[in-house]
Amino acid sequence: MPLSRYRFRWGLSGFFEFPTENARRILPRGLEPLELHHGSSVFSLTAFDFVDSEVGPYSEVVFGVIVPPLLGEEGRLAKSAFYPWQLATTTRAAREHAMNRWHLPHWPENVGIEFTRDARSLVVRVKAEGSPTAELTITEHSWQPASHLYQCFMQDDSGAYLTHITMEGEYSEHEEESGRMRLYDHPFNKDILLSEVYETPFREVWYRDGVQSFEPLVSRSAA
């Protein structure tokens, strides 16, 4: 099975509670948010620092809603599933590649994505049109090698799709509530009711020095 591989230095995610009504407004028909509590769904902010790919090195930020994984017939269980509804990259080539191959909706211009490592944390600062849009701090726990399978649901005018993504690398995950997120009042964040999203992640995930592998897309009607 041909895979599309993206080698990264950092891949980190913060998972934040936000209202299920907000999640439902974002999700297309046929997808349901996974609720952490009744009425409270999960917004994920993910950032990658890719060092090697078909379109060269670039950085990327992904806004997603966590959804329950689909149980397939082949017996593979996904660790988690998500619906990315807004992505942004630092290069045009990466953006066009992701839109064409993976049907992923993107912010139309290049954005600035800066990673700052300190003793126990990694801070990502995102700027669009010269203004700050998002800032994410993820803290580390313990590191171990990992290989995790995820499901990614996509949808655009051409149809609805699903791909399996494998994340491999050194991995840290915890629920110590020590990270932080700040979303700025900016068109980039227009789909999120900023006053209702938590600023402290209930879960923090951090991959380092790894590979993200996409399997070929399948149509959701066939999944």
Partner: protein
């Protein structure tokens, strides 16, 4: 403590990556499609540690129990630190005699809804005794503690109202809020400041729900500050004292009494399954509240009433709890002993300040191995892991009882400290 960088068994690490949320949707249109993937995961999870759940007991849940190991089929005699029975009442001779007499008199069950043919004289006696004990006008019984919450909350709250829940609320409280169809807002655990942030500016009917003692961490509700915030914003307050009734306060009425806030709370809920070791739930308050719940508490209205056998046993148990305050003193003495000894041995019990003590393992992959060894060395204890508690916060949960002897508690300390030491999970 941090988890080890490598795991000895990749299969063990694999099954811990999943939880019930992974089995929520299935391909195709047949609901049966949900079963096979879950069962494939569960078979693996069971052999690696989930077999430690639902192990059958072959006798009363006293401080020593005979338990069948679900992996080997072997029956073992273990020191029991898993059952609630905080006052050791359920197997007292007076309780058994009262239940046996009720069985002779009434037969097995109530054979009807409490609003139709299922209310017996013993139910009324029990409800009146509960109301007297809690110093309230009236009380109403429910078949279980779960049904008390899913009966009370939707009876009070409607679509368009707002319910504020602690993030660690018991499932019955959450389900009650779902059934109420109200807007549900979770505030951070035991955090009045976050409640303040969430409740500010919210209009309309508001209910704040807390628990006296939280069942996974054993910490006590920060009731004074939460009451202050709730009252300032015009919210009513419901306290679920499942794990604190008969234990806390000068008269054992619960955490609300402990803080001198009994009269400030609008709705008091409790259970008979914890301190009395029986079954059932209750709500107490004004006569108006009880009459209203008799009509609108659907989980009670549409269930068969508590068995009169159980009601008679609970009545006898309640009299013991009221008449023997030394049981509470003994319980708190046991709790103090265990706290001191765990501290001396470097065993982390988190933020517990009650008879519910989490022995923190803080290692999701290793908690089952720890639980297995603890059982092999003579203790009956259940592991608690993600998603019941946050990731890396896995633990064994201890329920201390007044019935435990110091020798039993010391034996437990030795086993737990020994196993945690072997596994590198002591905090010193």
């Amino acid at each position: 403590m941090k988890e080890a960088a490598e795991e000895s068994s990749p299969r063990r690490a694999a099954f811990t990556e999943y939880d019930y949320s992974n089995f929520y949707y299935a391909a195709g249109e047949d609901p049966i499609n949900l079963l096979r993937p879950f069962n494939e995961w569960y078979r693996e999870a069971k052999q690696h540690g989930y077999y430690l759940y639902s192990e059958p007991l072959a006798g009363a849940p006293t401080t020593r129990v005979r338990v069948r190991n679900n992996k080997t089929g072997e029956w073992r005699d273990l020191i029991n630190l898993a059952s609630y029975n905080y006052l050791g009442i359920s197997y007292r001779p007076e309780v058994k005699a009262a239940a046996a007499a009720a069985l002779e008199r009434y037969g097995l069950g109530a054979s009807g809804s409490p609003i139709l043919s299922g209310t017996f004289d013993v139910h009324e006696e029990l409800a009146e005794a509960v109301a007297r004990f809690k110093d309230k006008e009236a009380a109403i019984l429910f078949p279980t503690g779960y049904s008390a919450n899913v009966g009370l909350i939707p009876a009070l709250m409607r679509a368009g109202d707002t319910i504020f829940l602690d993030q660690y609320s018991h499932a019955s409280i959450v389900d009650g809020a779902i059934m109420a169809k109200s807007r549900t807002v979770f505030f951070r655990h035991n955090n009045p400041l976050d409640l303040e942030r969430k409740i500010s500016g919210v209009k309309g009917k508001k209910l704040v729900v807390v628990e006296g003692v939280y069942s996974m961490d054993g910490d006590i509700c920060a009731l004074p500050d939460i009451v202050e915030v709730a009252k300032r914003h015009g919210a009513r307050i419901l306290i679920d004292e499942a794990h604190s009734t008969f234990l806390f306060g000068p008269n054992g009425r619960g955490v609300a009494e402990h803080f001198g806030l009994d009269k400030e709370i609008d709705f008091h809920l409790g259970t008979f399954s914890k301190s009395l070791g029986g079954q059932g739930g209750f709500v107490c308050g004004s006569r108006d509240l009880v009459d209203y719940l008799n009509a609108f508490g659907r989980s009670r209205f549409f269930s068969c009433n508590l068995s009169p056998v159980l009601a008679a046993g609970l009545l006898a148990g309640l009299r013991i709890a009221e008449g023997e305050p030394q049981l509470r003193a003994k319980l708190w003495s046991n709790v103090a002993y265990l706290r001191r000894r765990f501290a001396e041995e470097g065993v982390d019990i988190g933020n517990s300040s009650s008879q519910v003590m989490p022995v923190m393992v803080n290692n999701d992959a290793r908690v089952f191995a720890v639980a297995e060894k603890v059982q092999d060395r003579g203790l009956f204890l259940n592991p608690v892991t993600y998603p019941a508690v946050p990731k890396h916060k896995s633990r064994l949960r201890i329920s201390v009882s007044a019935a435990h002897s110091e020798e039993e508690l010391e034996a437990a300390v030795q086993v737990i400290a020994g196993v945690l030491g072997d596994e590198g999970c002591l905090c010193r």
